[in-house]
């Protein structure tokens, strides 16, 4: 794996599309925000996302907002390799000099990219963590995947990460099944960033948490993002989360991007009718 210096962007996505079903000529015209639906009325294909393009600069934080079914999580899952996209290209600044489409590499290389260059935080800790093995073991898994082979070094790194995420030292060798929801998410974040990935993908990571707990998790994410200078792609239906974390925001509806801009511009001067609705509903 050749690791080139990060280019002007850490992640570039061009024309990403993902649909479930046979697809027909009418699919793209009959779905989307104007049509107000994601399912093609002619062939029944679900167009989860289409024509999604964006750049994420190294160390930048980009938000994707939209209601459930808008396709934002599909974008994230395609990037992480949990789903195979139907079309489009994704380039990582740190992979192959930024010229290697990570959607078309072999499954083995995909795994390597996931192990060395990406981190993913899932909405549910259950998905991102093995709740039965220790918190330290969960972090160790990422490090072992990136070919760390010294137990002492692995434990040092895991301890540093857990302490930064404010998980008490004494919890390191306990299984996260016994932790609170907020602490589980903090362990998940520690795991996702363990290898120093160039891009971290976060999927609704605070949705299941109490508001007071949410704030703490968001602060820690912000702190660690600044310290490690990772690029982050933050998917959330919560504009408050995006306002706090992201410098730029993409708004999605029915599988398409309806608006993209600086986060303060999206919030203070939304252009698209859907964004105006979204913003008015949080300010209300």
């Amino acid at each position: 794996m050749n690791v080139a210096p990060a280019g002007p962007w850490a992640l570039r996505v061009v024309g990403l599309g993902k649909w479930f079903g046979p697809g027909c000529d009418a699919c793209l015209a009959e779905t989307g925000p104007e049509a107000g639906r994601s399912t093609c009325p002619r062939c029944g294909t679900v167009v989860a996302c289409a024509g999604v393009s964006f750049d994420l600069r190294p160390g930048g934080v980009l938000g994707i907002v939209g209601e459930s079914g808008s396709g934002k999580t599909t974008v994230l899952r395609c990037l992480n390799g949990d789903l195979t996209p139907s079309e489009g290209i994704a380039l990582l600044g740190s992979v192959g000099g930024g010229e290697r489409d990570i959607f078309t590499v072999s499954s083995q290389e995909r795994r390597q990219i996931r192990n060395f260059h990406l981190g993913m935080v899932y909405q549910s800790a259950r998905e991102g963590l093995n709740l039965r093995i220790s918190a330290g073991g969960n972090i160790a898994e990422r490090l072992l995947a990136a070919e760390w082979r010294e137990v002492a070094a692995i434990r040092r790194r895991a301890l540093t990460l857990l302490e930064r995420m404010e998980v008490p030292r004494s919890r390191m060798d306990q299984p996260p099944a016994t932790f609170s929801g907020g602490m589980q998410q903090r362990v998940q974040i520690a795991k996702a960033i363990a290898n120093g990935p160039s891009v971290v993908l976060l999927d609704e990571m605070t949705s299941g948490l109490d508001v007071s707990v949410q704030a703490g998790v968001l602060d820690l994410i912000q702190e660690i993002q600044r310290a490690e200078r990772m690029a982050m792609l933050v998917v959330s239906h919560d504009l408050g989360v995006v306002r706090l974390l992201c410098e730029r925001t993409i708004v999605m509806k029915n599988g398409r991007i309806v608006e993209a801009g600086l986060t303060d511009q999206i919030l203070e001067d939304p252009q698209h009718p859907y964004t105006q609705l979204l913003v008015s509903s949080i300010n209300a």
């Binding site: 499954s107 795994r111 093995n130 969960n138 160790a140 990422r142 072992l144």
Partner: protein, 290 residues
């Protein structure tokens, strides 16, 4: 040799030579060739019915029966012993269905050695084939119950969960407690179960002069380690792999260089060589030199 001749060779027994029909043997050999070509990779094969129960060495036996020909000499051991009930039964089956095949207990004489859970102490040579009986071929089963998922893990060389299991073992117990069937990385690519051999035997698979074949009859898998192939136990740089240590020599032959096993005696327990043939030979040598 055509089918008619082959059939006539076994005519005294009423079975085809080597018990299995020729096409089945060919299918096994084809699977073995693939296994040799991809060291450590588990190749599915159509496991046939044998007059012994699945789980009693049918995988190893099908390999042995598919490979033996006139002039071959077969040795069968069970946990190192030539005379255990299981080893004797398997040997008898080979003898009765494969006329003209020699049988031996001497490691040096054998061309094919079928084994359950041991590698003979006497070093094997390039012309010898070691056939392992394997109860559970999938090394990842301990961390992942789903077959589809373990196949994906092998395909992507995604072995981090296997490593985590070792890490957790180490953290919980201060050492890796796994004794038999210690997972190994073959040819730098596939994680493989060496079958439940003791740790003692694991390093002897690394860059070995001989061919190792593994057969799991119930699980319908064969796999192989060709000669001169890297076989590395999964271990950490600061917690290297170690083999069993014995404080006492063999109570029977006095060997300090073989793997020992505890056998309950009438009065107490005795610690002796697990490889009975080696023990006999060592004892004979000592008496001769006296």
């Amino acid at each position: 040799m055509d089918l008619r001749t082959l059939a006539s060779l076994g005519s005294g027994t009423g079975y085809n030579f080597g018990f299995l029909d020729e096409l089945s043997k060919k299918a096994v050999r084809r699977a073995l060739l693939k296994a040799i070509a991809i060291p450590g990779y588990q190749v599915p094969f159509g496991s046939r019915e044998l007059p012994i129960a699945r789980g009693w060495g049918t995988g190893g036996l099908q390999i042995t029966l598919s490979l033996v020909g006139q002039g071959d000499v077969v040795k069968v051991i069970d946990q190192g012993a030539d005379e255990s009930v299981n080893a004797v039964n398997l040997r008898r089956l080979i003898e009765r269905t494969s006329p003209g095949v020699g049988l031996t207990t001497f490691t040096r004489e054998a061309t094919i050695i079928q084994t359950r859970h041991r590698i003979p102490e006497t070093p094997l040579q390039a012309h010898q084939i070691l056939v392992f009986q394997v109860p559970l071929p999938e090394p990842l089963r301990v961390v992942e119950p789903r077959e589809e998922e373990t196949r994906r893990m092998h395909a992507e060389a995604d072995y981090s969960r296997m490593w985590v299991a070792l890490y957790e073992d180490l953290v919980r117990h201060g050492r890796i407690t796994r004794a038999a069937g210690y997972p190994v990385l073959v040819n730098g690519r596939h994680v493989m179960s060496p079958s439940p051999i003791p740790r003692w035997d694991v390093p002897r698979l690394h860059q070995a002069e001989f061919l190792s074949l593994f057969g799991a009859g119930r699980e319908k898998r064969v796999y192989a380690v060709p000669p001169w192939t890297d076989v590395e136990p999964l271990a950490f740089t600061d917690h290297p792999f170690t083999v069993e240590r014995f404080d006492e020599p063999c109570a029977r032959c006095g060997s300090r260089t073989s793997y020992l096993t505890v056998i309950p005696d009438e009065r107490s327990t005795r610690v002796v060589c697990s490889d009975t043939e080696y023990c006999d030979e060592h004892l004979a040598l000592q008496e001769a030199s006296r």
